[in-house]
Amino acid sequence: MTAPSFLTTQGLGVTLAGRAVLKDVSLSLASGHLAALVGPNGAGKTTLLRAVAGLVPSNGAVQVGGDALSSLPLRERARRCAYLAQGHIVHWPLPARDIVALGRYPHGATDPARLTPRDSEAVLRAMQVADVVAFGDRRVTELSGGERSRVALARVLAVEAPVILADEPTSSLDPRHQIDVMRSLRMAADKGTLVIVVTHDLGLAARFADSVLVLSDGRLVSQGAPAEALSEQVMADVFRVSAYRAEYQRETVIVPWAEI
């Protein structure tokens, strides 16, 4: 990688309930880069994302923007790493706009009714990119799964953080919405954000990501451009499947095909 890295981890490990879930993960990622984090169920993808976001106690070092994550106050961490959790839980039927506005919470805009002009512009920009302006007034509970995931995405974009960590943002979405979400994240990366996306969809990973990180049993076993990181060997060893591989419109196509 030629660009200076914005996010690095050195020997990152996480132990949950006595089990080493993440072991010795060292990463170095630059701004404007979209990395797809893949691996079988239970490989530690979510844990890695949470460790990078500082949501789970870890050993080893995480540096974001030149500072050790552990040295940063919570608010500052939140401004540097926007985190999109799995499932897009919303416990109360709040209007979609208020959910998106929560993205400004780390910037001190804790009340969606009292946003500074700068904050409301960030909220509006995020809502436009995620295409949720039309239903900003509707309660999230009244939205379809696809609409809700776009609201969740808008909330993360509204943080305008230099790092976006998205945990399976495309799960349970139809193909159109999956592409929508990935394209929005791709756009964020093209504007200089470092994006890490956890996904089970190797096709989407290969299609949209600059690089793919493959986790297996808590270890980072492969990383690089999609075609290399997801080589036949890796597909066989880690995922235990064979894959159809091709190139379409100058992008790598990988379709998992059969068990090995």
Partner: protein
């Protein structure tokens, strides 16, 4: 589409909220006037206002300012802190069935207070009483949240709450059982029923500082409750210190409820009912529900305390009994409404 347009509808709902709050303030003020006017000697609201500001006869002044004003102030403050505590706990746990009385906080506070009296450590008018009540309430809510853990479902919270309030009730019964002083047993009975009768300014001074401190702590967490709507993990990723928030809410609820129980005894279900009455009018935003729930709590308790003075009966009905008799059916109705979530065991 501009930022102004997107935010325009937010202003409409803000206006509506202000209207609801204004109406509630007027309602509480009216109920306070009625509360000051009701009793063995009935006074008109105008006479009450006159007497409050030093007019009217000496007797009228004594009745309103010294006999009834403490009761009205306590009704207001205790109702408000109960409503606020309910709304805060519901916000913290993202759970519409959370409330101090379902979690055993007032019952535990009662035990704390009763223990102090039975051991002869303090009389009913010393600060040892609210301090013991607050400590017991703190322990009970802390234990409940520790048992429930993070992201607890409805069922766990309610079962743990039931266990804690049963334990506190049993402990209180044990103290009564072991106490061979009939006066002590009588005093304990006073806590069990919950009442605002015959309270003096001494009681107001005893409870109010704690209630105000609890209210300030809870109110200051309002925006964190909104962030918590997205779950604890996301709230933390937005910069909310969730562990600290939990402790602060437990402390706020314990201060408020403990302080209230020390002078009024157990008054249940206002914390459960108040936020529910407000959701259809204010919406579900947990931050916006705090003030309206507090005002509704004040109105509910003032109204209940007026009702016990109007309802004809051979002996006094205690206000705590009345709020429970109204509150429990409401709780059953909520259980029915949340039946699906309860059956699934998840919130």
């Amino acid at each position: 589409m501009t930022a102004q347009n997107v935010m325009a509808t937010a202003d409409v709902t803000a206006g509506r909220r202000a209207g609801v709050i204004g109406a509630l303030v007027v309602l509480v003020a009216l109920l306070a006037l009625v509360s000051l006017g009701i009793g063995p000697v009935r006074l008109s609201p105008l006479t009450v206002i006159d007497a409050l500001f030093g007019g009217g006869s000496d007797v009228q002044q004594v009745i309103t300012r010294e006999i009834r004003l403490p009761r009205t102030i306590l009704g207001c403050a205790i109702g408000a802190i109960l409503g606020l505590s309910g709304a805060a706990l519901q916000g913290l746990l993202r759970n519409p069935l959370a409330s101090p009385s379902l979690f055993g906080a007032p019952q535990s506070a009662t035990f704390g207070a009763v223990l102090v009296i039975a051991l002869g450590l303090a009389d009913v008018r010393s600060y040892a009483l609210p301090v013991a009540a607050i400590a017991a309430a703190f322990v009970s809510v802390f234990v409940l949240l520790a048992i429930a853990g993070r992201n607890a479902g409805l069922l766990i919270l309610i079962l743990a709450g039931l266990a804690i309030s049963s334990l506190a009730g049993a402990a209180t019964a044990l103290v009564m059982n072991l106490s061979n002083n009939p006066f002590v047993v009588l005093e304990i009975a006073f806590w069990l029923l919950g009442s605002l009768e015959d309270r003096s300014f001494r009681h107001v001074v005893l409870a109010l500082p704690f209630i105000v401190a609890g209210a300030i702590i809870l109110f200051n967490q309002r925006n964190a409750f909104r962030a918590l709507s997205l779950g604890e993990e996301t709230a933390q990723s937005l910069g909310v210190n969730v562990d600290r928030l939990r402790l602060l809410v437990i402390a706020g609820v314990a201060l408020g409820v403990g302080g209230a129980v020390a002078v009024s005894g157990t008054i249940g279900f206002i914390g459960l009912v108040a936020p529910h009455l407000m959701r259809p009018l204010i919406g579900h935003d947990p931050a916006r529900l705090l003030v309206p729930s507090a005002l509704t709590g004040a109105a509910l308790l003032l109204a209940a305390d007026i009702a016990v003075r109007i309802i004809p009966s051979t002996s006094d009905i205690k206000v705590g009994v009345l709020t429970s008799i109204i509150g429990v059916p409401f709780f059953l109705y909520l259980i029915m409404r949340e039946r699906r979530a309860l059956a699934g065991g998840v919130a």
